[in-house]
Assembly symmetry: C2
Amino acid sequence: MSDGAQFRQVSPVRLYQRIVEQIEQAIVRGDLKPGQRLPSERELVTQFGASRPTVREALRVLESSGLVRSRPGDPNGPEILPFSPAGLTKEMTRLVQFDNVSMAELISFRMILDGSASLLAARLRSEEELSAMERTIAVMSEAIEAGYAEFSKADMAFHEAVAVASRNSLIEVCNQVVRGAVLSLISDKVAHAGNSTALMRKSLHHHQEVLEAIRLRDGQAAARISRRTLFDYYAGYVPENEQGPLLALVDDEETSTTRP
Amino acid sequence: MSDGAQFRQVSPVRLYQRIVEQIEQAIVRGDLKPGQRLPSERELVTQFGASRPTVREALRVLESSGLVRSRPGDPNGPEILPFSPAGLTKEMTRLVQFDNVSMAELISFRMILDGSASLLAARLRSEEELSAMERTIAVMSEAIEAGYAEFSKADMAFHEAVAVASRNSLIEVCNQVVRGAVLSLISDKVAHAGNSTALMRKSLHHHQEVLEAIRLRDGQAAARISRRTLFDYYAGYVPENEQGPLLALVDDEETSTTRP
DNA sequence: ATGAGCTTACTGGTCAGGCCAGTCACAACG
DNA sequence: CGTTGTGACTGGCCTGACCAGTAAGCTCAT
């Protein structure tokens, strides 16, 4: 056998995959924008030269990825959907369930992401972004009376504002994904025990501390407080013998001793 | 209208979705383990009471998620695949292409993940894990002669060892995903320019520094060096006017001044 | 002229049945 | 005992059909 040539494993490409690729790339390239419609299934059959079941297999795959949506009877054909991280969330949730990722790892990950977002926000924020954060904190304060649902919404608005200031949307998307995974795990155990006013006030106070650190452009402090906040909030759901990694992210005491 | 009842939007559930759910849950529950086989399509048709096209739509969706694989002619039926983060990678890549996530954000994200992994490893490592890391570094050193492919493999082994010591598999999975996304973006521009021995030596040196910090259990230093390493390596691919967020993760000068 | 209601021509969801090429277990053959 | 058919499967793909929706356009009464 010749030593020079390297052969790769070949795998037959299914027809439906070619169709998926073509539509997918058309969307990525921007030829198909969200809101636009795909031709009807029967029209696609003629365009792709494949049978309807094959075209449908492709559409089902695209649909499960959250790229398109078919509605029965819709004369306009399947709709191109705007991008949403829903698919990412699904995959992440699968990862958690499969790879038996522990609660501790999820919380730990959130502490890292949230802390990093706060750190970046503290160092990169503009004045406008700071006041935007201040406004969301004010809304949070008022929302305490309105109940947990409102408070939670305001809370997310704050984190969104922080994410914007951190100049990194990836962090926030991943954070929301992990947050969703955490909630789907603990929702079995507790039905929003965090409904009490006292807890909301405490949470608000934590957020105010983070905001203050961001105002002072003290990235390290903002990160530390963010992590501490999450730890306080979620530590109860983690068995004590698994809290080590979490504490490792909270204890920053060595910070002042490591630099020359 | 009654004020008490809350109604959610309903959406008709397709037959193929029910099938997907059932198989998916069977896998998640562990009733179906990787390597095991699903009944043949025609057998599934009788079990689910649906037609073959419908069953096939379900299988295509599961296949595109990386859960099962069908091979033509295989008398054992579709195979349950071991979990792989391939689906996550695909979704993440989509996110990058769609949401026009910039190169700077990707690098920034890797700096955060890699730095956090090093920090946790430094604080949580056991002696065995430390020596495991030392071994991979030794392999890296030897692999420089063997070329970039070998070196890259050894590099990944080191990061794997760090990930194990950090007690958090999520970080590593996400890191690999982002790493893949980055490589798929810059592979267009450069065909592995990092092939030179000099670059490998430099990379090895950086890794040794990280290892030393982990040995000393100095989490902050390990994190800082990790981020710096990545910055040095990738900064060239980021336009100068977008390097701000990256520098914000490298400059830890304020560290020693923020603690009372 | 204008609005309400019906008709109709589509849509996607689902099914039954069939053909083909590939794979593999196994039996017949050398 | 090894080789070689061979046949009973597999999945990939197709045709054609029926049904329940949707919505546009038409009709008709106001």
